[in-house]
Amino acid sequence: MIENPKIGLFEIFTRDDIYRIHTATLEVLERTGVRVEEESALKLLASIGSDVDLSRRIAKIPQNVVEEAIRNSARTIHFAGRSREDDIRLEGKRVNFGPGEGATSILDCQSGIIRPSTKDDTVKAVKLADALDTIDFVMPLFTAQDVPKPVMPLHDLDAALRNTEKPVMVVDFGLEANYLIDMAAVVAGGRERLKERPLLGMYSEPVSPLTHGKSHVRNLMTFANADLPIVYIPSPACCSTAPATLAGAIVQSNAETLSGNVIAQFTRKGAKFIYGSDTSLMDQRTGVFSYGCPEWMIFNLAMAQLGRHYGLPTWSTGGCSDSKILDGQATFEAGLSLFIAAASGANLIHDVGSYLNFGLTGSLELLTICDEMLSMIAYILRGVEVTDETLAVDIIDKVGPGGHFITQKHTLEFLKKEHWLPGLFDRQMRNNWVKSGSRDLLKRAGEKTEQILSAHQPVPLPADVNKELDKTLRRSEKEILGHQPKT
């Protein structure tokens, strides 16, 4: 976590820009409106003064409603870990990091082979995320491709709940959200206890442009009612599902997430809504949704600044790449996007080390490398501490012209406090590097990952909770599939 960085945030808008984006957003919501596929949400929007056309399922939302929803939103969100030490707060400039969820394949960097990801891969990813110091919340990184698809989100969550004490966030993938809450409630000790210790958050998405899908809106409302953290952000792509212009795409993204907030806040006042977007572009040569382009990074800066302007906890994305393998492009795009997201001051930054190949492929080694980069980024954003002691005028005087500082007590006292030490990046002299096997970053990241996975044992769930979680998972599977799958 980076807490209240000393360095100024990386902001791109003037006050005037923000005013114009905000008023343009209000105009879109009032003039064009949003399509809402869920009837109960449409009726809710009508009851608070929106102009609703039930047959076209369009709701035009007036300005005062949008602004009232912003005022009613939770300003600070407590996102709980299984243990209190792992709790995080989403507010102000506190920046927290976590992996994403959604990769359907895993890249084995040592062999170069890409294969469908399994639940076992998800378990490993969660264990690794549990062990890494820079990771504050956990998403399951992979999706289990070896379980029946309709119940896959339950298995991703199952792997997460059992293998980390950090706060857990999962994607709903359109599955009825109560199934997810049931499982988290088992770990928390009941639904009421889960409200006090919200150890599960949900990520869901409107569909751009300006459409709220049925299952996603229902889940948004379910999580609002359960008083659990909800990330509800669009992923529009310039030139296809959003205008080509950056400002236009930002206005649309803002309208999409803020109209979600209206539904959340009027479902339950003070709903724990997390604002943001994952806006990028459709590459004009290949049609892909890019997770490494500079436009995507600018959008991340834009949305963090807008969210902070509204006083809403914010969501962002970093640590991904469009590269198919873990190469120079991958580490550059991942590193730069992480720095941008961190310097934006967004409160939850996801997809760390999770997305290669446009979100389809994950790599444990990339997560390990991102951990190193994050620790470096956190160090940079901490800035310089300026006190009498650190200004060191007495020591400079004592050593004087032509002396050296190596043996000074001051040096020994501060070197560990003041400086960053690499854990994975190499600073050996060439001869020693050759002697130790001439290992490149990829090789070292692979070894470190293996080491962590063999040494780290996450704190297990109590035996009775484990059993109860088994039961809940099986019961839900049976309900969803209509039969019990073989294990």
């Binding site: 309709p150 359109g174 599955l175 080509a244 040569r285 446009f358």
Partner: protein
């Protein structure tokens, strides 16, 4: 017309078509010219000379001219058969439109007739379309992992209705893999829109 098509300008293409018809060109000739022009646009996109938005704009313009001008005049003519008939749609529970739209446009650009059923298309609607339209291929899109099973259900519905052997089935969408396509008994899968055109030609035995 060629110029208007390559400028991706719908209004100019309509004007040029009207002018050409006045000058006495037969709709059949114009259709052939337009098809040839579209193929050039598709080739230029594949080479990286054109952007996706330009490809789609050219396709939309040509589609309008064919549907509103040339087709009505050609009714009953029967000449210039398309390469094949495709029915395309996004499966039930999924309202993602754009990828399916691009694949449909690429197929159209390549010379296929494409019927787009839209998004959130239930299995029965695909079955009905196969019964009524008798397409050569149906193409199903799904973006959500949880809606992927609808591709399987649609294939099963086709089997139940006894129509599975009358039509080829292809699947696509970000979480779709060739393993998934095999598992559910689809006839093919392609990674992107250009691949989809190649795939359709391959399974219909059409030489490039």
């Amino acid at each position: 017309m060629r110029e208007a098509l390559h400028a991706f300008d719908q209004e100019r293409l309509v004007e040029a078509t009207e002018r050409a018809l006045e000058q006495g060109y037969s709709p059949q000739d114009l259709l052939e010219g337009l098809t040839e022009g579209l193929r050039e646009v598709g080739d230029r996109f594949e080479k990286g000379e054109l952007f996706l938005a330009e490809l789609v704009a050219a396709g939309e313009a040509a589609k309008k001219v064919i549907a509103e001008y040339l087709k009505p005049m050609l009714e009953g003519g029967g000449e210039g058969e398309p390469l094949g008939h495709i029915v395309i749609g996004t499966v039930a529970g999924d309202i993602h439109d754009i990828g399916k739209g691009i694949v449909g446009m690429m197929l159209f650009t390549a010379g296929f007739e494409v019927k787009d059923l839209g998004v959130d298309v239930p299995a029965e609607m695909f079955v009905q379309a196969v019964r009524e339209e008798k397409p050569d291929v149906i193409a199903m899109s799904a973006l959500l992992t949880t809606t992927l099973p609808m591709q399987r259900e649609t294939i099963e519905a086709l089997e139940k209705s006894g129509l599975r052997n009358t039509v080829k089935v292809i699947v696509g969408g970000s979480p779709v893999t060739s393993e998934w396509a095999d598992e559910i008994g689809a006839d093919g899968y392609a990674e992107d829109a250009v691949g989809a055109v190649k795939l359709v030609k391959e399974i219909l035995g059409i030489r490039e």
